[in-house]
Amino acid sequence: MIIAERKPFDELKSFIADKKKVLIVGCRGCVTVCNAGGTKEVGILASELRLDAAKDGRELTVDEHTLERQCDPEYIEELLELVEKNYDAILSMACSVGPQFVTARYPAEDVYPALNTCFMGGALQHGIWVERCQGCGNCIIHLFGGMCPVSRCAKSIQNGPCGGSAEGVCEISKEVDCVWHLIATKMMETGQAETTFAPVQPFKDWTTSRDGGPRKIVREDLVK
């Protein structure tokens, strides 16, 4: 899923410094699962903003609404009735796709991202999320023992580990596992290090990645 985290409170506060009526829109997709922008988080942010405004003696109305998803026009459409209430600002608590879809549908609205969209990954345990994919568009993790060097190696190298790998961690931080250490160890343990894994990996073709420009998928069988 897409992992996001809420922006610092002061930044969110600065977005609405001169606003009197604000709508916070949550999303029941990925950001609910990663505890960043679901109904619960919308409620927390709304309370924080209300309390802060009361403390400063500012007039502020904050409404809350959570959509099924913000990455689908049919759900964005549901906002129409609310938008007609003329908010001074809309804070979207979805990944960055959400505020972009909201703005595209309601161009007259002042829409702000309330989250920082961080990466595609999963939870190691409750409260800890890690990156596992960069969406390069051509998955080859089966060549690397089921691990992705594009997203998990700081240098995205295809023939690792580099000289900065020591004691299983990456040169950039002792907190970051060296994925190439894990890959190489697995290859040695499974007896592939000197056989199937021995050849030099081919040059990575980045055309399917972001480097080929913004991407789009058209499924003719689904398009009406």
């Binding site: 240098k155 690792g160 950039i172 030099v200």
Partner: protein, 313 residues
């Protein structure tokens, strides 16, 4: 031992003749001061066979390695121009290789490159389009197949005749995989390899013995990286703070055992002993003297162990 010579490289000529080669290292200035390059070069001239010119090492902005390499070559020394994968995509790399060869660069040493997190622009974007092993393959293809990665051919005699270098680190992990990664570099077409700074001789010898067993030393020249310890402080720093460098406790104890004003001499003595051992270590074709910001000590070292151009017949 004598091997085929494929380039105009002086370093290749020395290595192919079976003589014990000596390379040095020079870090370009953090300015446009060409004098700093020529000043450092003075200490190396006549003492080494060629000199590595680092490419924005530790991700700190410096004069580009090609320009510094050309300034160095004006002094009569030969450059091993370094190129890292951090700052260039395959378009820029091939372009710079063509330009370097056209300007008389014979040796190119390719590396992944330190992550920019360590440097003076941690907020920058990195490239890492291809890695060091694929860069080795790129240079080999340009030289031996006379083709660019696109398939574009170069007319005979217009291809870059580059002696291809790489790095190896027997002290990084996983230890057992290190020699296999070197085998990949050899398969990719590397001609010579220089090691990370060696302090742990036991681990280094173990590594070389495996490399020799695999016959890698017959396909590529291995050069041992030597950096003298300047004192106890440096020994401890290298041990604790530099990823991929191991300093054995015995060496720390040995530095501790001498008074502070004699530690430089002790560090030089240890390095001299290492060089002596390297001269007869199977598979080792030379030493790479990484006297970082300590170039003026190179003449003393080569005179002490009697290596380098002036001690050859």
């Amino acid at each position: 031992m004598s091997r085929e010579v494929r380039t105009k490289s002086n370093l290749e000529k020395v290595l192919a003749s079976g003589q014990f080669a000596v390379t040095g290292e020079l870090g370009p200035p953090r300015s446009a001061a060409r004098d700093e390059v020529t000043e450092k070069a003075k200490h190396l001239l006549g003492n080494v066979d060629s000199v590595n010119i680092t490419d924005n090492q530790t991700a700190v902005v410096r004069m580009c390695s090609l320009s510094a390499a050309l300034i160095l070559q004006e002094t009569g020394l030969e450059a091993n121009m370094q190129m890292v994968c951090r700052d260039r995509n395959r378009i820029a790399m091939q372009s710079d290789i063509l330009g370097a060869a056209a300007m008389g660069i014979n040796n190119l040493l390719v590396l992944s490159g330190d992550h920019q997190k360590f440097g003076d622009h941690p907020e920058s974007k990195n490239v890492f389009d291809i890695d060091s092993i694929n860069l080795i393959k790129t240079v080999k293809m340009m030289r031996d197949d006379r083709r660019l990665l696109s398939g574009q051919e170069m007319a005979e005699g217009t291809e870059p005749r580059i002696f291809i270098g790489g790095a190896f680190n027997p002290f990084a992990d996983p230890e057992d995989y290190r020699v296999l990664r070197v085998a990949k570099k050899v398969e990719a077409g590397v001609d010579f390899l220089q090691s990370q700074c060696i302090y742990d001789m036991v681990r280094f010898k173990k590594f070389m013995s495996r490399a020799v067993d695999m016959g890698l030393h017959e396909k590529c020249y291995f050069m041992a990286g030597i950096t003298p310890l300047k004192g106890l402080g440096m020994a401890k720093y290298m041990k604790n703070n530099v990823p991929g460098i191991t300093v054995p406790d015995e060496m720390i104890e040995r530095m501790k055992g001498v008074p502070k004003d004699k530690q430089v001499d002790e560090g030089m003595k240890i390095a001299a002993e290492q060089i002596e051992e390297m001269r007869t270590l199977p598979g080792i074709a030379g030493v790479h003297l990484m006297f970082i910001e300590w170039e003026h000590m190179v003449p003393r070292m080569v005179d002490e162990v009697k290596i380098g151009p002036k001690y050859r017949k």
